[in-house]
């Protein structure tokens, strides 16, 4: 009888333990990536996600060709600034960057204009274009005045943020 009595208590705790084990996933189910150094491979969820549709106001590329390699840049990464670590998957549509809520990448930054710059695909390349911003868009120390082709790894400064394309 004592055995059954204690056995039952053990059963109770086995149940509690199993429940907690199932919940462990809540703690360890997220992937934590350090933002220093290179950003790791994107999770499958984001890669499989539907492409961001044309930005409101950003000129959608008319009849974009079925996504060629485009120097194999696959995402836009914010590498400095308050949004550091944010990544956007690239698709066949343009990405509008600025403070306006309708932008693809909304910067909460007093130094950026509401529609600051856009990055759009053209043929095999991604082109950076400044949309007449007040404080300018810079590649290195060079202010971007004309649409400029962008290769992965080139850092673009917009206000307090730095964005770059990554493979």
């Amino acid at each position: 009888m004592t055995l059954l009595r204690l056995g039952y208590l053990v059963m109770l705790w086995v149940f509690v333990y199993s429940v907690v084990r199932v919940l462990r996933r809540d703690l360890y189910g997220t992937r934590i990536t350090s933002r220093k150094g290179t950003v790791r491979e994107k999770p499958a969820v984001a890669a499989a996600a539907p492409p961001a549709s044309p930005a409101r106001g950003g000129a959608p590329t008319a009849a974009a060709p079925p996504a060629p390699a485009r120097s194999r840049a696959s995402r836009l990464v914010v590498s400095e600034g308050p949004l550091r670590g944010t990544t956007l998957p690239l698709s066949s549509s343009a990405i509008l960057i600025g403070r306006a809520p309708s932008c693809t990448l909304v910067l909460d930054d007093d130094y950026s204009s509401s529609r600051h710059a856009r990055i759009f695909p053209s043929g095999d390349q991604w082109i950076l274009e400044d949309l007449g911003s007040t404080n300018g868009t810079f590649i290195g120390a060079q202010r971007v005045t004309t649409p400029t082709p962008l290769t992965p790894g080139v850092q673009v400064r917009i206000g307090q943020s730095v964005v770059e394309l990554q493979r």
């Binding site: 009888m1 004592t2 059954l4 009595r5 204690l6 039952y8 208590l9 059963m11 109770l12 705790w13 086995v14 149940f15 509690v16 199993s18 429940v19 907690v20 199932v22 919940l23 996933r25 809540d26 189910g29 997220t30 992937r31 934590i32 990536t33 350090s34 933002r35 220093k36 950003v39 999770p43 499958a44 969820v45 984001a46 996600a49 539907p50 961001a52 549709s53 044309p54 930005a55 409101r56 950003g58 308050p82 949004l83 550091r84 670590g85 944010t86 990544t87 956007l88 998957p89 549509s93 990405i95 509008l96 809520p101 309708s102 932008c103 693809t104 990448l105 909304v106 910067l107 909460d108």
Partner: protein
């Protein structure tokens, strides 16, 4: 600085099935042990009961698997385990009091269990999206009020043990207040999600406390006053405490204003002081709590501390490991199967067992709160948070009362205690939590960015399309009002 990305969501249905089997073993094992300890053999209807419980539990599991495949995997097993434990204890008390057949409380409780689980399955089945409930915000308010008033209506209401909270329906007695709490949770959630900005931002600041404007509070004050007034008339302290707690907690969840908690607590203190001085039965409760071991109070014919102290003696008898199923004398405590079932379980399972049970409740509540964090729409957040709080609050009030932390009030321990209405209502709460958690855990078609998906700063990485934060796959057919707090803010600014 680091980014946090949710991993691949596992539906957890397999874990649920595994845990469910364990939970069933717990409940059925307890039943068998009771029989072995008291009569030396397993109870006659053991196999029927085992089969019935297993069929119900697994049936519910398959309904969840079919209709809410991403629902939280631990909620159903915990509810089944607690329900089974309660059933076994009620059966054990029936044996001690020689109740058999249809007069036995365990038979009725078994019926209610079946009904409750079927009701949960039906809710999960029929309610495809919890946001549909938001359309019935004010209907829920009216339903809640009607349910609360129902026992006062002469031919329906029944007065049992000094409290007029039952409604007789043929051979059954229902406590409508148990269902009213769900209705009020729906109402508060629906109301607060549209008005929370007004409640948060408008109004004067006094001594660092943001005071709301009276007109913003209208409907809530009306509901609250009405329920309190009626409950004072019905002389049911516990339920009034429950509604009050729900009200304050949901306001706090909605507005994030600590001032609400302070206002609530001071209102409560005033109410408690008033009740303690003016109502004799409340006075008696306080007396029995403060001077429980006074022999005069202990032996008082009505409203003494006999029940409370006997329960404590029982738990002391149980000690660390308990007396084992059927080994103690929990039947010496009046209402051992309803109000004092925690003391009965504490006696037979000991501190070790009762802590395991409390952890089950803790996990259940934690899941509710986690669902509230995970779900993407404000209404779901408030509803899940409110329902989880109701369970937590009931546990606190009951266990606190039994262990003499607070005065005893007549609330039921969810799932454990004898009481059909309570069981049914709690199974419905479980079904609602399952439904919301399915919505919360279902992978979205929206791209997940480096920022946490549901973070309030989500606008920082807003997708190009103006996607509603809660635009889940089937949101398109939800033609109810979209969560448009934005307009509320603008209104405030205009004034």
């Amino acid at each position: 600085m680091a980014t946090v990305e949710p991993g691949r969501v596992r539906s957890g249905r397999a874990s649920e099935l595994g845990l469910l089997v364990l939970a069933l073993v717990l409940g059925v094992g307890a039943y068998a042990l009771v029989g072995l300890a008291t009569e030396g053999r397993v109870p006659g209807n053991f196999y029927v009961l085992t089969f019935g419980m297993a069929a119900l539990g697994i049936g519910l599991h398959f309904v969840v698997r079919w209709r809410a495949p991403y629902a939280d995997p631990v909620i159903v097993p915990i509810a089944v385990a607690l329900n089974g434990l309660g059933l076994a204890m009620i059966y054990r008390l029936d044996l001690a009091e020689d109740l058999t057949g249809s007069s036995a409380l365990s038979t009725r409780q078994l019926g209610w269990t079946a009904l409750g689980m079927v009701a949960a399955a039906v809710v999960v089945w029929i309610l495809r999206d919890h946001r549909t409930l938001r359309r019935y915000t004010y209907t829920a308010m009216v339903v809640g009020l009607v349910l609360v008033v129902l026992p006062l209506v002469p031919p329906l209401g029944k007065q049992i043990n000094g409290a007029r909270i039952w409604v007789g329906l043929g051979p059954f007695s229902l406590q409508p207040a148990e269902f009213a709490k769900i209705a009020f949770a729906v109402f508060f959630a629906g109301y607060l999600v549209t008005n929370r900005d007004t409640l948060t931002l408008a109004g004067r600041k006094v001594l660092g406390l943001q005071l709301p404007r009276v007109r913003d509070l209208g409907p809530i004050i009306v509901v609250w006053l009405a329920s309190i007034a009626v409950l004072v008339l019905e002389r049911d302290l516990g339920t009034s405490l429950l509604f009050f707690g729900l009200f304050v907690a949901m306001l706090y969840i909605a507005t994030e204003r600590i001032s609400w908690v302070i206002i609530g607590l001071s209102l409560f203190a005033a109410g408690a002081a008033l009740a303690a001085t003016s109502f004799t039965h409340v006075q008696g409760r306080f007396d029995a709590w403060l001077n429980a071991f006074d022999s005069e109070v202990f032996n008082a014919a009505y409203g003494g501390s006999g029940q409370l102290v006997r329960g404590m003696f029982g738990m002391a008898n149980g000690g660390l490991m308990g007396t084992g199923w059927g080994g103690g004398r929990p039947d010496l405590v009046p209402y051992a199967s309803s109000d004092f079932i925690v003391a009965s379980l504490g006696e037979e399972l000991g501190l070790t067992g009762i802590i395991a049970i409390l952890i089950m409740y803790l996990v259940l509540v934690e899941r509710g709160m986690r669902i509230a964090i995970g779900t993407r729409d404000g209404f779901g957040k408030l509803l899940a948070g409110g329902l989880a709080f109701v369970v937590a609050w009931q546990c606190f009030v009951v266990v606190g009362g039994v262990t003499r932390v607070i005065p005893v009030t007549g609330l039921t321990m969810p799932f454990l205690a004898y009481g059909g209405s309570s069981l049914l209502a709690n199974w419905i709460i479980v079904a609602l939590l399952l439904r919301i958690s399915d919505n919360a855990r279902r992978p979205t078609p929206l791209p997940l960015r480096g920022t946490p998906a549901a973070a309030p700063r989500a606008h920082a990485a807003a997708p190009s399309e103006p996607v509603e934060p809660d635009a889940a796959p089937h949101a398109a057919r939800d033609d109810g009002p979209s969560p448009d707090q934005q307009t509320e803010v603008i209104k405030v600014v205009d004034q």
